[in-house]
Structure formats: structure tokens, C-alpha cells
Amino acid sequence: MNLILENISKKYDNKQTLQNINLQFSNGVYGILGANGSGKTTLMKIITTILRPTTGKIFYNEIDAFKQNDIFRNILGYLPQKVGFYDNFSAEKFLLYMAALKGVPSDIASNQVLEILELVGLEEYKKSKIKTFSGGMKQRVGIAQALLNDPKILIVDEPTAGLDPKERIRFRNLISRIASNRIVLLSTHIVSDIEYIAKEIIIIKKGEVIYKGQSEKMIKEIANKVWKIYVNVDEVEEIQENYKVGNIIDRGDKIELRIISDQKPKDSAIQTTPTLEDVYLYNI
């Protein structure tokens, strides 16, 4: 089961938002990393058929997403960056509505909604109105609606924005649990969201895919490019101007900087083990 993106480009007026995106996905979680405005959301919206690409095609097992869109949409689940709700609906009623939109027969929908509410830990709030929910609870309703039709392709866009650390871990675990038999595309600019669950990472910069591969492999590739240095406070600014700086930690009399650089930035620099965040910084 493959999802194939062929030469996807998107132009808004004179602005090229996406350029020649060619990607292929099979079951598992794919983390799509990119800065804000890099084109992640546009790409997600094109895959969900909400937006039409200026050029290019999308296929899922030979189904043309834009020609056989009813069949394609039947296997899609989408959690947008800002999920839309009817605030006056209860969680259960909203999910039943989404189930009807997704074509889930009503005799199946009621049970399915209850099961999914249980999966996302909201079964006891099923009758509560969505307007009374916290951001985290709303996000859980969002993921629940995305899972309603048991989608083969699940697209989640910036799912952890606005969530507290506990909710983020809970969300990550949930994605991990449901990803075994489907393609999950998770776009984020928070590296830790995908570090341990993504089988492959795609980095997008200015509308172009600049890197795609397994996170371990990517980390290995920058094995000798991550450094730690200790400097005085007044040197920090200059170093930030000349190098890609990751963490900055105040160590009392000195400042510890994590630098990603092909060359050793300073004689005193110590090579250190890279993380996925370093890969992201290196490529952005």
C-alpha cells in the first residue's frame, strides 16, 4: 500500500509555496519537519484534497486522488492544525456528525464513536459540550474524528501545538499505537514530537524537500558535526551569527552552546552525540 506524490507544486499568485515534491509512503509514521511557512500545511492540505496542486498528482494504490476523489477521501483521516468544531455540539454528537460526513453507516457509527472516545480517553465527557473542553481535550476530539473511518492514510498537521507536556506524550503514544497498519503523516516543527515514533523524516524548506530518510541514518550522517563549547556571555551573539546554535545553557560562569557545524568552531570545542533536533537544525 503506497501513497505516491508526483511532482507536486503549488503556486499562490506569484508565490511558489511548494516545488516539485516527489515522495512515496508506505505504512508507518512519517515526520514532516519544517519551519513555520515552509509549506508543510499546504502539502498536508493537498494530500487531503482540500487544496488542488498547481501541478502534480497523488496516487494511492493506483487511485488518483483528484480523479477518484470519493474513493480516496474514504481512506483519509485528517487532523488539521486548527481543528474545526461546532462548540455547541457535545463530543459524541460532533463525532456522529463527522461519521456521517465520512459515510460511516449510522448503525456502526454509534459504537465506533464510543470506542474512539474511549481510545482518546474522553468517554466520560461524551455528553459535554466541546466549548467546555480544554485545548488538549479538543485536540483529542480532533484525533478521534480523524480516526472515525479507520483511515488508511492519517494526516496530522502540527498536532501538539498548544498542548502541555503530558498531553504531548499522551498524543505521541496514541499515534504510535495506531500507526501499525496505516500511513501516518505527521507535520511539525517540534522535533521531539516525532523523534521516537517516525520511521522516516522529511525535511521541507521553502517548499522543497531537502531531506528524506530514517532518523538513525540522518543522525549518523552528522555524527562529527555537533559540538559543545563553553564561552563567556559576551561571545554568544557573535557565535550565533556565525554558526547554527542549538541549546544554550547557562553554566554559571560560562555559557554552554551546542553548535552544529561542518568545521570545529573553536579549538576548545568538544564533539558530542547528535540528536534529531541537530539534524533538523543542520538542514534548515
Partner: protein, 368 residues
């Protein structure tokens, strides 16, 4: 589809603005209608004259009428008594006028080429006029009031509630952000359109029924429920109507046209809502179009023929109904005259079909 329809109906009716709109509309209507209620029953003024209008009856009426001197100031009930007699005399005058028109058309027909469109047109007119029965006179005030409210009152209430209830039908999806999930769902680009259109029509039906119930209750309580057998030619502005309907039949026709016009307008508002992503803008554009139609129809403007023809098939003409039936008007369809009320139904159906088609296309191509 059934589930989606249920939700769409629920979404329309659960809007607070709809509830407030319904309460406000009917309260305002109640206030205005209440001003129109006569202080006392006048049916007894007509009762002696109901039924066949004979020469004997007419002579008595004329003699009673002549007793009301112009100089003396009349009491309210005397004035009403005089009006009642005048109404019956007018009825007789209309009967004569109708006979004159029939004779005039017969003369005209003899001078017209029997194979021409004009001949067929006059013939249709003639046949209609000959069917009108001026035999019996009935006291008609309660039925007439019920009938009148459906036109103007029905148009105002239904129009306002369509604007309030249907304007957000798609724009609300944009405001709430649900569009994102909707447009990528299996039924989010086609079945949802069926559901929203059907839900809008159900909404129009419910409001129409509510208007009729309110209208019936109000006037039945205020007066009574009589007068349905009177012919429509006895109603103001219907003297020249060629249609041989009694008020009862015309009332059913009027409600039907109100519903059809309302449905078409609701479908138009659906389209505007689908084209805009903002409820206020959708409301303003739809209100403007409805207001413009109303202004052009009711105002005395010297409009170009194209505009006048377009207005003949406007939502407002359908919802206000009366203008469709007040005069003899036909359209030439391949040399054969077709009555305006029938052509209106064909025209508004075509317009509505086009609006529905565009609505489907807009949602199919929608990007958000």
C-alpha cells in the same frame, strides 16, 4: 445521507438567531395584525345578502344604500354597513364588467386570424373569463385577511428567516473551521450539498407551515373562519384576474407559490453562503439581492424590458404571489400562449436548477 440531513436540519434550527428571529417575526406580525382587527364583528351586515345576487336583492341594496346621506356624519357601524352594501353593488358591477370583457374579446376574436398566436391568446383569455362564476356573493373578510397575510406577511417573515437561518449554512463551516474536515471527507463535497439543500427546503417548509398556522389562528380567533367560497375577483386588485378561483383554492395556490419562491431563494442563499466565507457578508449580499428585487417590483420604475422580464421570474414575485394572478398575462411558447403562473413555475425551476448546479460546482472546486 439521511444522517447528514438530520444533522443539517438540526444545525439550522438550533441556531439561537433563528429562534430569536421566529419569536421577533411573529411578535411584530401579531402587533401589526392586531392593529387591523375591527372592533366588532360585521358579518351580520353581509349575511342577508349572501348567496345568489338577484335583481330583487340588488334593488333592496340600492335603496338601502341611498338612505345613507353624504352630508350626515356616519357612525362606525353605519359606515361599515354602507361599505357592505357598496361591496355587493360592486360585485354586480364586476359581473357586468366581466360580461363586457367577454363580449369585447369575442368581437376581437372574430377580427383575428384564426391561425395566429393572437387568436390563441385571446381564446385562452376568453375561456378563462367564461369560467368565472359571479352567481353567489359571500361575506369574505376572515378568509380575505388570512389570504392577504400569506402574500406580504409571508414574504417578509419567510424572507427574513431564510436570511437569518440559511446565510450561515456554509460560511459557518468556514468560521468554525469544520470546512477543513468536511472538504476531505467522503461525503464532504457532494452528499453534503444534497443535505444542506434539502435541509434548507425543510426549513422553508416548516416556516411556511408556521406562517399558515399563525395566520389561521390569528384571524380565526379575531373573526371566524368563513369566506372561502367567495371568488378572488371580489378581493382588492383582483377585479381583472382571469382565474376562476375561490379564496380557498387561491389560498392553497398562494401557499404553494410562497413555498416554491422561498425554496428557490433559500437555494440562492445557499450558493451565496458557499461563495463567501463570512456569514455577515453572506447575509448582506443575500439581503441586498432580496431587497433589490422587492424594490424594483414594488417601486414605480421605468425599467428596461430585460430587467422586467427577469423580475417576472424573481424569488420575490413568487413569494408575494399576487402579481402572478392579478391580470391576464401569457408568454409565447412556440406560437402557443402559456399562462404566466405556469411559466413562472417553469422559469423559477430552471433558475433554481442552475443555482443548484453552480452550488455543486462551487463545493466540488472549493479550496480552503
Amino acid at each position: 445521507m439521511k444522517d447528514l440531513l438530520r444533522f443539517e436540519v438540526h444545525k439550522i434550527f438550533s441556531q439561537k438567531s433563528v429562534l430569536l428571529g421566529v419569536i421577533a417575526s411573529f411578535m411584530i406580525a401579531f402587533y401589526f395584525l392586531f392593529q387591523m382587527v375591527l372592533p366588532q364583528d360585521i358579518s351580520h351586515l353581509y349575511e342577508p345578502w349572501e348567496g345568489p345576487i338577484t335583481q330583487d336583492k340588488l334593488q333592496t341594496i340600492e335603496s338601502e344604500y341611498s338612505q345613507f346621506s353624504e352630508e350626515n356624519e356616519l357612525s362606525w357601524i353605519e359606515f361599515k354597513q354602507k361599505s357592505a352594501l357598496s361591496d355587493i353593488m360592486l360585485f354586480d358591477e364586476f359581473r357586468d364588467n366581466n360580461n363586457d370583457r367577454i363580449n369585447h374579446l369575442k368581437d376581437k376574436l372574430e377580427l383575428t386570424d384564426s391561425g395566429s398566436y393572437n387568436f390563441r391568446n385571446i381564446n385562452v383569455h376568453l375561456e378563462l373569463l367564461e369560467k368565472i362564476s359571479y352567481q353567489n356573493y359571500y361575506y369574505k373578510l376572515p378568509a380575505e385577511q388570512i389570504l392577504n397575510f400569506v402574500g406580504i406577511g409571508g414574504f417578509v417573515i419567510l424572507g427574513a428567516l431564510i436570511l437569518i437561518g440559511i446565510s450561515p449554512i456554509y460560511s459557518e463551516e468556514a468560521t468554525s473551521g469544520v470546512y477543513q474536515q468536511m472538504l476531505c471527507a467522503k461525503h464532504g463535497r457532494k452528499t453534503i450539498v444534497h443535505s444542506k439543500l434539502l435541509a434548507s427546503m425543510l426549513y422553508v417548509l416548516v416556516i411556511t407551515v408556521a406562517i399558515v398556522i399563525f395566520d389561521f389562528l390569528f384571524w380565526t380567533i379575531a373573526y371566524s373562519n368563513v369566506g372561502w367560497n367567495a371568488i378572488i375577483q371580489t378581493i382588492n386588485n383582483f377585479e381583472s384576474s382571469p382565474y376562476s378561483f375561490d379564496i380557498g383554492t387561491y389560498f392553497i395556490i398562494k401557499v404553494f407559490y410562497l413555498f416554491i419562491g422561498g425554496c428557490s431563494f433559500a437555494i440562492f442563499v445557499n450558493l451565496i453562503s458557499a461563495l463567501t466565507n463570512n456569514t455577515i457578508i453572506s447575509f448582506i449580499i443575500s439581503s441586498f439581492i432580496l431587497g433589490l428585487q422587492g424594490q424594483m417590483i414594488t417601486g414605480m420604475y421605468d425599467l428596461p424590458l430585460v430587467i422586467r422580464t427577469l423580475l417576472d421570474f424573481s424569488h420575490v414575485k413568487g413569494m408575494m404571489v399576487d402579481e402572478l394572478f392579478q391580470n391576464f398575462k401569457t408568454y409565447n411558447f412556440f406560437g402557443y400562449p402559456v399562462l404566466y403562473p405556469i411559466v413562472y413555475l417553469i422559469g423559477i425551476s430552471l433558475i433554481t436548477a442552475i443555482l443548484i448546479y453552480i452550488n455543486y460546482k462551487v463545493i466540488q472546486k472549493k479550496q480552503f
